[in-house]
């Protein structure tokens, strides 16, 4: 019984993790500029990755696998926001200015119909 509950919990975690990854991908493809895309990817990667790895840790064998997965979870949870911040700062100092609604509409009106 408890084993059944465990695998249901794992399945839920993995499925929701996949959902977050999907959101990250969609955000990466659809959002208007670099900073907005970073929003989608950093969060969804960190949250989705941690959720999936937690789910996997629940069903993995006990022989060293689970502890290693915990180490990986810690690595993802630390590295994902740091990499996101480093890239955002790089773009900011390289002179990228964030897209805003006004600039987006201005660009649209300049486009030939």
């Amino acid at each position: 019984m408890s084993e059944f509950l465990l695998s249901v919990a794992a399945a839920l975690l993995i499925a929701s993790g996949c959902l977050f990854f999907l959101a990250g991908t969609v955000g990466l493809l659809r959002l208007p500029d670099f900073f907005c895309r970073l929003h989608a990817t950093t969060k969804c990667d960190a949250v989705g990755g941690v959720l999936i790895l937690l789910g996997v840790a629940l069903v993995a064998g006990a022989d060293g696998q689970t502890v290693r997965i915990v180490a990986l979870i810690a690595l993802i949870a630390i590295s994902s926001p740091t990499a996101g911040h480093a890239l955002a700062r790089a773009g900011w100092h390289a002179g990228h200015r964030p897209w805003t609604r006004e600039s987006g509409e201005k660009e649209k009106s300049h486009e030939p119909e």
Binding site: I78, T82, H85, H93
Partner: protein
């Protein structure tokens, strides 16, 4: 026209490759062609001949040790070439000195926190590489990556002070020479290159020593690349 031709060639080659892959036996299947002839001999004899539980390491350090040695020499030669070009060349791009944008405190702190663990992981790969996957070269690369990260945090100048050029040079050379020494010792003692002695602990020691030599050689070669690419900016 030439583009179209190239596309056709690529598509044909890709199709051939896919067809080939689809004919491969499922991964890990024991009756695949690769598992029946030479490999069987390696698997039977590898453990005694090389004394390394990880078969890949056994092959790399025994049957193909000369090959591995050649690879290490190639990296070393590449480094010499880069050093030669780097010393003659001059840097383009903006020359900035002390007024350069400081590294982000977030990146700084995270690298400082992670660095000891990365170092331990790299040494784990080097020292236990003959039991688990990994090995000298991979561990050395991770160690090199760690040093590049440290260069980011501490600045290349401080990294260079910690690892002065002569020390780098001598360590790399000694690592290379140690490898050669093991080969020659095998030739002198047992009659063929890279022969390993019978005693278990001595064999283990030599294998670990070899891995360490490869790892440190690779790591310091990478640091050499990095420092020579950074060098001109701070002269």
């Amino acid at each position: 026209m030439r583009n179209a031709l190239a596309l056709v060639v690529v598509i044909v080659l890709a199709g051939l490759m896919m067809a080939g892959v689809s004919q491969l036996p499922p991964p890990g299947s024991p009756d695949g062609a690769v598992h029946r002839h030479v490999a069987a001999h390696y698997i039977d004899g590898g453990k005694e001949a090389a004394g390394a539980p990880n078969l890949v390491t056994a092959v790399l350090l025994n049957y193909r040790a000369l090959d591995t040695y050649g690879e290490v020499v190639v990296i070393f030669a590449a480094l010499l070439a880069v050093l030669a070009v780097g010393l003659a060349g001059h840097s383009r791009g903006p020359q900035r000195g002390a007024d350069e944008l400081p590294v982000s405190p977030v990146v700084d702190l995270v690298i400082r926190l992670l660095a000891p663990f990365i170092a331990l992981f790299a040494l784990f790969m080097i020292l236990e590489g003959h039991v688990l996957p990994g090995g000298g070269f991979q561990g050395g690369v991770v160690l090199g990556a760690l040093m590049i990260l440290l260069g980011l945090v501490l600045g290349p100048r401080r990294l260079r002070r910690m690892l002065p050029t002569p020390a780098l040079f001598w360590t790399r050379s000694v690592a290379l020479l140690a490898f050669a020494l093991v080969a020659v010792a095998g030739l002198a003692l047992a009659g063929w290159l890279f022969a390993l002695p019978e005693q278990y602990w001595l064999r283990e020691l030599i294998i670990v020593g070899l891995e360490l030599a490869i790892g440190i050689g690779a790591a310091f070669a990478l640091v050499g690349f990095y420092l020579s690419l950074e060098a001109d900016r701070h002269r």
